[in-house]
Symmetry: C2
Subunit: 254 residues, 2 copies
DNA sequence: TATACACCCTTACGCAACGTCAATGTCAAC
DNA sequence: GTTGACATTGACGTTGCGTAAGGGTGTATA
């Protein structure tokens, strides 16, 4: 089946201007141009547009989308499975917002009390932003662009209070971890306390804590040399030790 | 509790720039300005910001939000119940998207076939846009601005084919309805056929059909003089007749 | 007491992702 | 052969902020 701009647009629920713009920025070029200069799209373009819209729906910038879908290593099937996950996460966030509304309604009816902090639960889109970063990272790492400093930006949005608490916690983690490492037992009391402190520290950055994510991060400490270097600075092997402690802590051993 | 820009910003998960901008456009002004020119926000502003963020999350433009929340007739509690509904609708749309991904994955695995149309199900945000319109209408109707012609714009996004089909269907509805009206029986075969045609016609405009919505629309044909006039043009009483037929058709009688 | 440092302010330019004309060419139908 | 709905390329406008630049404020620490 072949489509002109309008046909494809109405099929996908987007404007013709959008299609021309996508052509202009090189994100979706028509299969061919006919003798009158009309853009003609084919099957491949339809499928690609679907992918683009999935990414767009998930808040990825067109610039990043371009990097992703034009990469020779792009794997459509793999991307779909990722979309599924992100969409489920998005639904979780929506559920939090709905819970927020319900609570606020109860508040107006005087049935409950509610802190100011609670009133904004579900709005913070850090999860979504992290996704965007992940998407970006995946492709940028392959092409060697920078992305590291971005995470630092998040810290800038903290209040002084929060910042102080967070750095204090971080210090506690490394301290406890050093003592625990001396015992050599990742299942021991000290190591488990370090894991617990690490979790507390994490919750400053994550809107939602999950054991799986915690365990995944711990594994990354070992897999990613940047992090390994950070934890191993004073004592080689500490990163691995922390990972083991966290795996035990979360109950995810594998 | 009193907040400066940064405190309120980190509480709500937005930037200080955003707060200053909201002040600038008059959507959220601080409770007072202290002796050094600092913006100080109080309890009322916190609650208002929450409302603003709900609207924003639902895709309402800041301009519309301003109209809504600054209106003297604004009813926060009522708005919250609406937010709840819209959020649930948004979740339905998300579910459709997730279903879409699942289907597309099945497609890549060769388990099913899928039309191009299906590939874009869940993306079309007509529902959401309608919401936006409704929000706007509610307030604009109160202030007498125009909003009628907007719905016509939707038609412009159809292909010629679709447009032809839709007008043909519309004609069939009025024709069948005229015959049915002559029988005088809204439960009769002809009237039920008219209701069925009306449903088919509707699906061109609605992304999701539901009996409740269909019945609700039918009632509106009677309640809103603009629509009543349309159906009663040739034969007074036709709008009411159609409503009765649809109520029987959908099984929602009340 | 100074000086560091994290706050606050206003002004102003920048940017993404299109919407919206304007001016013009194309094609099928009546 | 002239409508009328399609298509094209500029080009400027809009929304909702991000991001300096340049400068005052408030308090803790050296």
């Amino acid at each position: 089946m072949e489509y002109t701009v309008q046909k494809l647009g109405s099929l996908a629920g987007i404007s013709t201007r959008t299609l021309r713009y996508y052509d202009e920025i090189g994100i979706l070029k028509p299969a061919r141009i006919n003798s009158s200069g009309y853009r003609i799209y084919g099957q491949k373009e339809v499928d690609r547009l679907q992918q683009i819209l999935f990414y767009r729906e998930l808040g990825v910038s067109l610039d990043s989308i371009k990097d992703i879908v034009t990469a020779p290593s792009f794997d459509g099937a793999h991307a779909l499975r990722e979309h599924r996950e992100r969409l489920l996460q998005k639904r979780e966030q929506l559920d939090m917002l709905i819970a927020n509304v319900d609570k606020t309604i109860a508040l107006t009816e005087g049935r409950i009390k509610m802190s100011d902090k609670e009133k904004f639960e579900g709005f913070k889109q850090k999860m979504i932003d992290d996704n965007e970063k992940k998407y970006g990272e995946e492709i940028r790492e392959k092409y060697g662009k920078d992305t590291v400093e971005k995470s630092n930006a998040k810290v800038k949005n903290m209040t002084q209070e929060q910042y102080d608490e967070v750095t204090a916690l971080a210090n506690q983690v490394t301290e406890t971890l050093a003592h625990a490492f001396a015992t050599g037992d990742p299942a021991g009391e000290l190591a488990q306390k370090a894991a617990d402190l690490h979790k507390k520290w994490l919750t400053y950055f994550w809107d939602q804590y999950s054991k799986e994510a915690h365990a995944g991060l711990a594994q990354m400490y070992v897999d990613d040399p940047r992090f390994t270097a950070y934890y191993d600075e004073k004592q080689p092997g500490t990163a691995e030790f922390l990972r083991d402690a966290i795996l035990i802590y979360t109950g995810i051993k594998k």
